[in-house]
């Protein structure tokens, strides 16, 4: 059944800081419209893996493919720069710390990418931004500056900003980890909505329940390797590996 090209295809990537290897040959693929969650203890390399796919981190070896195009092509200088700028427009990235642009309004945050990079005119970009804002439930905040928003609102704007580029995949790097507990749900709701629309998503998270709910597949990483992967009900409820079990025991108990 797996005849289509995967949307994200990661083959044997390795990354080391000096002698310390943080990714020890990771394989991973995400098919179109699928949702894959990566869980694991801090320091397991799960965030590094996600950031590597967006080339925010260089990998030492291995290949990263996005929809049949290689992300980490061995280009140099200006050529690499052009290539990477182009391919990043196809990937939406959501950060733990939101990273909204504080000197721009919410609408400007969302519109600047489409206008400058996708060459939309202002009216089109505004239209798109307003649609996305209402989708994340923040239609009334368009002219506010990020400093005026709660963490949950900031993250929803950040998601809208990434979606405005109409990316092929969305990458979420611990999108709710920096949020107060009562604000987590509003962000989760937006992500669930995207899942219902069959957006291809790769999610690094520490929330087991959320991962179980939205994912088609769950990957457990530890020490820079994939320990176990499969359907959420298998990995989260019936893990085969002892390390997975130990991790889940610790995390489901509180």
């Amino acid at each position: 059944m797996n005849t289509q090209t995967p949307m994200i295809d990661v083959r044997q990537i390795r990354k080391a800081y000096g002698v310390h290897e943080v990714l020890k040959g990771i394989d991973l693929s995400v098919n179109k419209g699928k949702i894959v969650s990566i869980i694991g203890p801090s320091g397991s390399g799960k965030s590094t893996l996600l950031r590597s796919i967006n080339m925010l981190e260089d990998v030492s070896s291995g290949e990263i493919w996005l929809d049949g195009k290689q992300v980490n092509r061995p280009l140099k200088g200006r050529q690499f720069e052009n290539h990477i700028n182009h391919i990043r427009q196809e990937m939406g990235m959501v950060f733990q710390q939101f990273n909204l642009f504080p000197h721009l309004t919410v609408l400007q945050n969302i519109m600047i990418g489409p206008i400058r990079l996708r060459k939309l005119n202002r009216a089109e970009a505004l239209d798109r931004a307003q649609t996305l804002l209402s989708k994340v439930g923040l239609s009334d905040k368009g002219n506010a500056y990020p400093a005026r928003l709660s963490g949950g609102q900031k993250q929803r704007v950040a998601i809208a900003r990434a979606l405005a580029m109409q990316p092929k995949v969305m990458l979420f790097d611990e999108a709710t980890s920096a949020l107060d507990p009562e604000l987590v749900e509003e962000v989760n709701q937006v992500m669930k909505q995207l899942a219902a629309e069959h957006m291809t998503m790769l999610i690094v998270t520490h929330e087991m329940r959320f991962a179980a709910e939205v994912s088609d597949q769950v990957i457990f990483m530890d020490g820079g390797v994939v320990i176990e992967q499969g359907a959420p009900k298998d990995v989260l409820s019936n893990p085969v590996e002892e390390r997975t079990r130990a991790f889940l025991r610790k995390h489901l108990s509180h």
Binding site: N54, L56, G77, E81, N82, N85, H86, I87, R88, Q89, M91, M93, F95, Q97, F98, N99, L100, F101, P102, H103, T105, I112, G113, R116, L117, A144, Y145, A147, R148, A158, R161, A162, M165
Partner: protein, 220 residues
């Protein structure tokens, strides 16, 4: 204290102050261009550019302004560079203060949260656009204070060009001392003139800071 003398020389010192202000403004203009160039070079992808920027700053900051001034004004003609005292002063001070100002600019750019760079890059913006659209607008307000401090330092260092014959405040005061033999009154008056100019610079810097701050708050 000779009050009558002070009354007599004040108009002349006021005139000389105009030249001191002119020296400061012209050097500042050159200094800003130099500083921006150095700052851009120090964030370049090319190692040679980064190295050249660091070497420039180190040499400019590592040698006395007075020696740089003498080298340009007295040594320049040997290299086919004959400048008027005013031009030699303005060029030397501009290139000198530019090195100091670039340090403040670099610091401000580095003070912008790294996540801003990552967010912009992950959207697909290139390095130049990232700097222009996101980093610089946030770094600019952080630069104002250090630029102000350097402008005050610059204003005071214009006194050094009196040694190559520019009749600015200090040289003008010296001339009055030779003719009146009242060094205390004359130099104190010149000092007061510098204080007024320096205070004016500080006021402008404060107003700029407040304007930026206000602009932010109004926008919120």
């Amino acid at each position: 204290m000779d009050i009558e003398l002070i009354r007599q020389i004040l108009p002349f010192l006021a005139q000389a102050s105009v030249l001191t202000i002119g020296l400061t403004v012209c050097s500042l203009a050159i200094g800003l261009v130099v500083a921006v160039t150095i700052t851009i070079a120090s964030f370049s992808r090319m190692r040679a550019a980064r190295w050249a920027a660091a070497a420039y700053v180190s040499i400019m900051r590592g040698t006395p302004l007075l020696v740089q001034l003498f080298l340009v004004y007295f040594g320049g003609p040997q290299m086919g560079l004959e400048l008027t005292p005013f031009l030699a002063g303005v060029v030397t001070m501009g290139f000198n203060i530019g090195a100091y100002m670039s340090e403040g600019m670099k610091g401000a750019v580095l003070a912008v949260d790294r996540g801003q760079n990552e967010a912009s890059r992950s959207l697909g913006f290139g390095r130049f656009d990232t700097m222009r659209l996101f980093i610089l607008p946030q770094a600019a307000p952080l630069m104002i204070r250090s630029l102000g401090v350097n402008t005050v330092i610059l204003c005071k260092s214009t006194a050094l060009v009196s040694t190559i014959g520019v009749v600015e405040l200090t040289y003008s005061a010296q001339r009055f001392v030779t003719s009146t033999f009242k060094p205390f009154e004359v130099f104190a008056c010149a000092g007061a003139a510098y204080l007024i100019i320096v205070a004016a610079i500080s006021l402008i810097v404060h107003a700029l800071e407040r304007a930026v701050d206000h602009g932010r708050k109004a926008a919120l």
